[in-house]
């Protein structure tokens, strides 16, 4: 009970921390919206020449674009969030202080990242999606049931994204300069989440493999759950996300144990 309250407090301050910068949030919304328009027009051209590409009709493809812009900041699809901060604490040795706090390291960062994501979903996600829905004919569901399934799917997307970034950040214990690794993490996320193009459009084996990788749980699956285009059912999509979340969080836990036992903290 105490632990739950503590983590909730951490999440809440994560939310408030990002909510403080209103001008920065407005700037982010503007940029997401501009990118949404650019992508939407290229998708219209693409689906005009090839209707039903990747199993989507044009309005579904556009819904995918705007869902991507809505989740870009919340699910940290371009990296960042806690990742840079945590990595910096590992690099300069401050993580030693975090480790002797009477709270679990992984849970602490997860709670703060969930708080950040909650704000960015509301602050940076809702407006671009609304603008997209006004400017284009989107395939947003009318039934509240799909939206109710979409929310846990977004939550799981954030958790999977967190677990992936946590693993990359932990590598900082072994590499003094992990900026290259962070770049790789962002690269993989942008490409394999579906941010550039829906994974269903990827040809052949590349597409099949991409849909099984954990990054597909961060955008492709939530978008499919929202539009009702998830193969199998929405439940299968949620189970896929939950499975990856569990595997990656466990891996993060194991790597953390190894890292804190074997590695000398830098700095001094």
């Amino acid at each position: 009970m105490h632990l739950l309250r503590l983590n909730f407090a951490v999440a809440l301050s994560g939310f408030r921390r990002y909510a403080t910068y209103r001008v920065a949030t407005a700037a982010g919304v503007f940029t997401n919206t501009v990118f949404g328009f650019i992508l939407a027009y290229t998708f219209i051209a693409l689906w005009h020449t090839h209707p039903h590409l990747g199993g989507y009709d044009q309005s579904q493809a556009l819904t995918f674009v705007w869902t991507g812009q809505a989740l870009l900041a919340a699910a940290a699809l371009m990296g960042g969030g806690f990742q840079d901060e945590f990595h910096e604490r590992i690099r300069n040795g401050d993580v030693a202080i975090d480790l002797y706090r009477p709270i679990d390291l992984q849970l602490w960062w997860l709670a703060s990242d969930l708080g950040r994501a909650a704000f960015q979903l509301l602050g940076r996600g809702v407006v671009p999606l609304a603008v997209g829905a006004l400017a284009f004919d989107l395939a947003l569901p009318a039934s509240p049931r799909r939206w109710l399934l979409f929310l846990p799917s977004v939550l799981l997307a954030v958790v999977v994204s967190f677990a992936l970034r946590y693993l990359f950040a932990l590598c900082g214990f072994w590499l003094l300069d992990a900026t290259g690794l962070n770049a790789l993490s962002a690269l993989l996320s942008l490409f394999f989440s579906g941010m550039l193009l829906p994974l269903t459009v990827f040809p052949g084996a590349l597409g099949e493999v991409a849909r099984l990788l954990p990054w597909s749980a961060t955008l492709q699956v939530p978008a499919d759950v929202l539009m009702g285009t998830q193969p199998g059912s929405a439940g299968a999509g949620l189970a896929f996300q939950a499975g990856w979340a569990l595997v990656l969080l466990t891996a993060g836990r194991l790597l953390q144990t190894v890292a804190t036992r074997k590695v000398v903290v830098q700095g001094g």
Binding site: V23, A27, T31, F35, A45, L53, A186, L187, L197
Partner: protein, 290 residues
Amino acid sequence: MADGKPRSLSPGPGGRLGTLLDDAVWGLRAYGFIVAMWVRSTMAYRASFLIMLAANFATAGLDFAAIMIMFAQVDALGGFTLPEVAFLYGTSCVAFGLSDLLLGTAERVGRRVRDGTMDVLLTRPVPVLSQLAADRFALRRLGRVIQGSLVLGWSLTRLEVDWTPGRVALLASMVLCGAAIFGCLFVVGGAFQFWAQDASEVQNAFTYGGTTLLQYPPTVFGKDLVRGVTFVVPLAFVNWLPALRLLGRDDPLGLPDWLDLAAPAVALLCCAVTGLVWRAGLRAYRSTGS
């Protein structure tokens, strides 16, 4: 700031124009000094540099990977073939990459105003813009230029264009004027942050958004959007208008032919406006105090 510079470095033959020219030369030289310093410091960690160069190359290449995947499914996008789109992509990336390499760090104005380090720049006898643009000069950004050049080179081997000297000159001017126009966007974006320190992300919509937009043919976009990036933010002069002429395509807006060749004039005009905006921004600067 010009008054503060060391006398020995600016002999100043007299006359207003002469002083102005001297200031510009001094600004560029100072920029060169600071850049050289950062390059030397970067090269101290060579492995790190090579990894980041590769990362920049790969990140820039992601957009082209998406275009390749699109063309695995369709033969033409907005009526343009893959080599034609690759030509647009290459010219947009090289022009943007050059300006990002040379002026990209000008986007740190907001951060410097917030943490108070802008004051330090004002006390040095070097133009503030030279210092800002050269600060943390990141040679790794060459990765984008290299990636764009490779795509551009490939497209040139596939396009059926009769390369007369005039057309070669047009291509060269596209890249140079394009870099100048993007550079102006970086500096105007930086100046804007004197007024709105937290809004650095707005300029990404024009810089990164601009280069993404120009990678695709103008026929893909709505006419109003094309009009906007021709007459309001003159991105169309970076590659769309000259490229349409090189590729022998009709302009979707039906603009007069001479506009295809107007990029150098537009770039000059942009530089003049940018200079005024930058000065106004710098004058509006209020230190964080405390």
